[in-house]
Symmetry: C2
Subunit: 131 residues, 2 copies
Amino acid sequence: MHKAMDTLREYGIQATPQRVAVAEFVLQTDTHPTADEVWATVRRRCPTLSRATVYNTLNLFAEKGLLKLQPLKDGVIVFDPHVEPHHHLIDDETGKVFDVPWNAVKIAGAATVEGFEVREYQVVMRGRRRR
Amino acid sequence: MHKAMDTLREYGIQATPQRVAVAEFVLQTDTHPTADEVWATVRRRCPTLSRATVYNTLNLFAEKGLLKLQPLKDGVIVFDPHVEPHHHLIDDETGKVFDVPWNAVKIAGAATVEGFEVREYQVVMRGRRRR
DNA sequence: GTTCGTGCAAACGGTTTGCAACAAT
DNA sequence: ATTGTTGCAAACCGTTTGCACGAAC
C-alpha cells in the first residue's frame, strides 16, 4: 500500500496528490507513454490534473532518476519506468514500444568506441509482430 | 558533375533547383542535420528556398529511400543520408550524432526476438568525447 | 510568511497544411 | 490543360513558461 508515495519520498520528491497519481500510473506501465498519454490516462482518476503539471512532474521524475526519456519515436518523447539497461523493439505498424531483456542480445564492442567514453548503449530493433 | 541531379532522377524524383540544392547538401553531409539545419545551410546558396519546401523535400527523399529518419534525439527528427545499416553514437555534451560502422560491433540475438520479425536493428550508444 | 506546487492560458519551436502563383509536361 | 512544385502564411501539435492562487512547512 502507498507504494508510489513511498517511492517518491525515497527519491526526495514531495508527495502531492497529483504526483502520486502520475507515479501510480507511469511507474507500473510498460507502454512507454508520451506525456500526453499519461495526462489522458491519469486525468480520468484525477480530473483537475493539468497538462502543465504532468509535464513538470514527468520531467521531475526523470531528473530524479525514476524515469528515463527514450528517444525512440520521431519527434516525441516517451517515458520508461524501466531504468535498468535493456533494449527496445518498436512495432512498425502500431508504433508500440516493447522492452527486450538485456541478456536477450549479446553485444561485443559497443562499450569501446575509439575516442569516446560510452556511458550507455542499447539495441533498437524495428519490425512487425508475427501472426 | 551533376551528381545530385543524377541521383534524383535515379530515384524517380523530378529535379528542381531547390531539390538539387537540398540534395547537394544533405546527401554528402555526415552531420545528421534536422530539417531546420538543412534549411539554414542551403538557404545561403539558394535564398528563395522556403522552410516548407525543405520539409516537403526531405520527406520526399525519405519516402524514396535517399534518406533515413533517425529518432535519436528528443523531440527532433534528424536525417541520415547513410542508408546502409550502421550504428550511432551520440555525444552527451554536444548532442552531435556520429556514425559507427556496422562491423565495429558484434551482435547476436537481435534479429530473432520471439514473436517478431525484426526488419532492422542498430546499436545506439551515448557517451562523451575523450579528451 | 516564505517556499513550493498547481492550474490556466499564453508562448514557443518544430512540422504540416491550404492556397494562390507558377513551371513543366 | 493538366499536373506537379514553390513560397507564404496560417494552422497544428507537443512542450515549456509566466503568473496568480493555494497548500505546506
